[in-house]
């Protein structure tokens, strides 16, 4: 397939996406009956009118200061939150948010947890069976895989979690900060695995990161979010230097 043809495939399109959180205390019958205080209802607009589209195989970096809506954006694309307004089109691509420990149940064994995570991520039984050995091998857990997660060290849990999300790949991969987990050798291995996923031409990737050097290196495009709004989107070097210029006077 020629590259020109591939480029025309839009993998993801966001149109006028706005999303607000309701910062409410859940309604309480007791509180209301006693009329101690009314139900507080506060809206926090996390995303305002976000528009962009991403071609298949592209890598988009998302930057912005803390609380600018980066993680919310990923969660909206992953389908965890629905936008209040606007649409997110996925064109039948599967999406996965690289999340640590999707629904781990600590009393179950690592093996069972791989199964459950895979099923939750929407893979079929046979797909999981074909990948499970690779995951076990990648996680370097050995016989521990047949022991309950509660017996694992925290490093082992994150190794397993990483292996699961890295090997069950979706078409669109959302990465919230490139994670480094485990001991030094595993960290190197996991970083290489992420690179491998990112540079896979069939995968569309969105990375949220504060590591500008990393983003310049890997991204085709960078999106700058500020206060839930898109400040700029485009060529990485240009957007990142604009962003740096924007935040540097604040630092001084």
């Amino acid at each position: 397939m020629s590259k020109e043809k591939e480029k025309k495939n839009i993998a993801l399109r966001l149109t006028n996406v706005s999303l607000s959180y309701r910062i409410i205390q859940p309604y309480s019958i007791k509180r209301n009956l006693l009329k101690l205080k009314g139900v507080k209802s506060d809206y926090f607009q996390a995303l305002k009118n976000v528009n962009f589209e991403l071609e298949e195989g592209k890598i988009l970096g998302v930057i912005g200061s803390n609380g600018s809506g980066k993680s919310t954006l990923l969660k909206a694309i992953a389908g965890i939150f629905s936008p209040d307004e606007g649409t997110i089109e996925l064109f039948n691509n599967t999406v996965s948010l690289q999340a640590i420990g999707v629904g781990f149940k600590s009393r179950l064994t690592g093996y069972e947890n791989i199964y459950i995570s895979g099923l939750l991520l929407g893979f079929s039984k046979s797909q999981i069976e074909s990948k499970i050995d690779e995951i076990i091998e990648f996680s370097e857990l050995g016989d521990f895989i047949y022991k309950p997660i509660s017996t694992y060290s925290s490093g082992m849990v994150s190794k397993l979690a990483f292996s699961i999300t890295a090997i069950f790949e979706a078409d669109i991969i959302l990465i919230d900060e490139i994670l480094s987990v485990g001991d030094t050798s595993f960290r190197e291995k996991s970083f290489n695995k992420i690179k491998e996923i990112i540079f896979d031409k069939t995968k569309t990737v969105i990375i949220v990161s504060h590591n500008m050097g990393q983003l310049k290196e890997v991204c085709d495009e960078v999106l700058w979010l500020e206060g839930g709004e898109v400040k700029d989107i485009g060529e990485p070097n240009k957007v990142i230097s604009e962003y740096m210029a924007y935040i540097s006077p604040k630092k001084k």
Binding site: I80, F81, L97
Partner: protein, 260 residues
């Protein structure tokens, strides 16, 4: 509703696998292992036999089976309802990271409870044999009654699942309500003969769980048939509850994660 069946197909295996793992992990490290699933209903039956026979001197026929039928059905209903209120909050580790249809969480739990109930029901059938209860063809009505029990519990649970997200103390309210309903269900007495005239009829028609238990006793112990008219009414109500419940949950489920 179409989406519901698609998701049901997609996540059915997850629900079964996850329920199986839950059950396994529940007993994996205990000394008596899966004996607990049998010991638990057995112990409660003994307690209620003691209360019924010794303390209150009640004289319902086949009392152990009489109580165990009620207790098993009640436990399923009770666990489903009280479990569903906190279901979203209890699964925050999943729902904040990945999209999963929220009623699937309920389905998965229901399989765990259903499995435990089935062990208990099996125990009842053994008990029928021991107590030399005359078995008639009517006993086959047990299966449709079990189906109704499942559907009505699932239907009500969907609503509790939804409102449990928004109403903080719904859990407490549900538990109190369930306790009241427990005593209005005739677990260790017969509503028909022990509750004075207009009220026994009202209870047996308006309290679905009392109706189901009463009917189960009739078909399993007392060689009677099923009250088909009320059965169909409650079946229709359950289906309406499930359809509206699914609709509400589907409409709002993506806002659940936003509520802190």
């Amino acid at each position: 509703m179409l989406k519901f069946f698609e998701n049901l197909k997609k996540y059915f295996f997850y629900s079964v696998y996850s329920a199986k793992s839950d059950l396994k992990s529940e007993v994996a490290n205990s000394y008596l292992n899966w004996f607990w699933w049998i010991l638990d209903p057995l112990a409660f039956t003994l307690i209620y036999i003691f209360i019924g026979k010794v303390v209150f001197k009640s004289a319902e026929d086949y009392f152990p089976a009489f109580v165990l039928i009620a207790l098993t059905s009640w436990n399923f209903f009770n666990l489903m309802l009280s479990g569903s209120v906190k279901a979203i909050r209890d699964h925050k580790h999943i729902t904040s990271k990945i999209y999963v249809p929220k009623y699937i969480l309920l389905l998965q739990k229901s399989f765990v409870y259903l499995f435990k109930s089935l062990i208990s029901y099996t125990l009842i059938f053994i008990l029928l044999f021991i107590l030399k209860v005359p078995i008639t063809i009517n006993i086959l009505w047990f299966l449709p009654l079990l189906l109704l029990l499942y559907l009505i519990s699932f239907g009500i649970s969907l609503f509790l699942l939804h409102f449990g997200v928004y109403v903080e103390d719904l859990f407490n309210l549900t538990n109190i309500t369930l306790k009241i309903v427990f005593y209005l269900t005739g677990i260790f007495y017969d509503i028909g003969s022990r509750v004075p005239a207009p009220f026994n009829k009202i209870l047996l028609t308006c309290n679905p769980i009392a109706f189901i238990i009463d009917q189960m006793r009739n078909v399993m112990l007392y060689e009677k048939g099923l009250n088909i008219k009320y059965y169909l009414i409650w079946l229709a109500i359950s289906i309406v509850l499930i359809i509206t419940g699914i609709h509400i949950v589907q409409k709002h489920e993506n806002s659940y994660a936003k509520i802190s």
